[in-house]
Subunit: 283 residues, 2 copies
């Protein structure tokens, strides 16, 4: 996406991620105008105060009419409503993308509303933290993080290139996968770890918590995330998450058997395999 091609941008949802994208766009494309759309005056005011957006709207249709780029940055549960509202007023040649953490259902809905070969290309910028809201937004949130772009066989190649170029211009690495592949991978590396973080937070009894140290704190950082957002992620990625949870349940059962048999050798091998994989892939 060449500099001239971002002139007027609408970001629907000015939370942490929407706000950070606004800041990154303004830094990278100083001549672009950024409009923010939100439900609450207070969020929009904060987003303006923190210079995430130039203009604030309750209704997306007005700024979208003028936009060459529209980014959906609300919880995924609200995407359908917004796509229906903006589709009739989209400019020819405009690109619509999103930041949703699940892609199969989102992309399917978008192709239904915007048409196959329409303006929509799915994106999942994998950047976040527990703090919510535009007051915590920072352009650096995106920097160096991965954005998965999820075209279908109907998506025009030029739109895919524009989408990848956009995220790269904002400092992200990009990777193309089809929506189903993305959702299976995200279930295993993100959604199931998140669910386990919440389960572990609820595991100790009250009088056991004072014994906790950095281990539990790290393992439950994700559990501090927004319940509404994670509800949407789980329910819009139901089958891959269930498949991944079932796989985890099976490996948990095998570990319990090792421990019931007090099989020290097998337990050590299990931990050694995990350590080896981490040391060779995530370090």
């Amino acid at each position: 996406m060449a500099k001239r091609s971002v002139q007027y941008v609408t970001i629907i949802g000015v939370g942490l991620l929407g706000g950070s994208i606004g800041l990154a766009i303004r830094r990278r494309f100083p001549k672009a105008r950024v409009a923010g759309v939100g439900r609450r005056r207070s969020s929009l005011d904060l987003a303006k105060k923190h210079k995430c957006i130039h203009e604030a709207y309750f209704d997306a249709a007005e700024p979208v009419r003028r936009s060459d780029l529209v980014i959906l940055a609300t919880p995924v549960g609200a995407f359908e409503k917004h796509l229906r509202a903006i589709q009739p007023v989209l400019r020819p040649g405009a690109l619509v993308t999103d930041v949703g953490s699940t892609k199969g259902q989102v992309v399917c809905t978008a192709e239904r509303i915007c048409g196959r070969g329409g303006a929509f290309v799915g994106s999942h910028p994998m950047a976040g933290r527990e703090n919510k809201g535009p007051a915590h937004a920072t352009a650096d949130l995106l920097h160096g993080a991965l954005c998965v772009v999820t075209p279908t066989k109907h998506t025009p190649a030029a739109l895919v290139r524009r989408t990848e170029a956009l995220w790269r211009a904002l400092g992200m690495r990009t990777l193309c996968m089809n929506p189903a592949e993305h959702d299976r991978a995200a279930a295993a590396v993100s959604h199931v770890p998140h669910a386990l973080s919440a389960l572990l937070m609820l595991l100790p009894k009250d009088d056991e918590l004072p014994v906790s140290a950095t281990g539990l704190r790290d393992m439950t950082r994700l559990a501090g995330g927004d319940p509404e957002m994670w509800r949407d992620i789980m329910t819009t990625n139901q089958k891959p998450v269930l498949a991944s949870l079932e796989k985890l349940s099976r490996s948990l059962k095998r570990l319990r058997t090792m421990l019931e048999n007090n099989n020290a050798r097998a337990i050590e091998r299990f931990f050694a395999r995990a350590k080896h994989r981490r040391d060779t892939t995530l370090k």
Copy 2:
């Protein structure tokens, strides 16, 4: 523990934690002599080079003869051997403690070897990180962290006070629990989270790992720990860990049922409960 009471200390096992305790003792008690006992010349040399210890020994009996304080800092699997070796040469009035992550079996073994009301008081300084060895040792590792002290009904009160005073002098907070209470709590807040960290590290397929972000990285930090140490922790805390894993399996099953039923309301409530507990207890 007044300053004068630490004069000659033997630390058996000069890894990250043993080395860090050596550094902390030397900083807090500048007149004390610290002897380190290890199996490998290289570790002992490193511990000396990093000023964790003054003197190095392969055989614990020699420095223990002169010590008013002995700290077991090897993996717990080696404690019995060391306790048998030092018991005959312990000075009257010497205090023996340890850093083991499990306490029931350790304390039982120690009371068998040192006698009930003997020199041993169990300790679990909850400080650690993934980097191994004395080269990463730092006195600050202990600072502000919790040390659980685990007397039994046979432990003389004066020895318990001395043990707590020692760890406090080194900058730690202390908490007294009986060994069984400690082990149940540690299973829930530490050992089961560790096991889950390793299970999550092994969950994704190879081609799914590139999609991982900070979430998986945080959730698998613990999986980078020493497999031998964690094998010993699991096998010496078998029953509490199994009970806690079973509790986790049940809550995992409930979550899977919510998701099979696509019960968005219940899923949101589950995440909200976890978030509330984290925000109110671990922040």
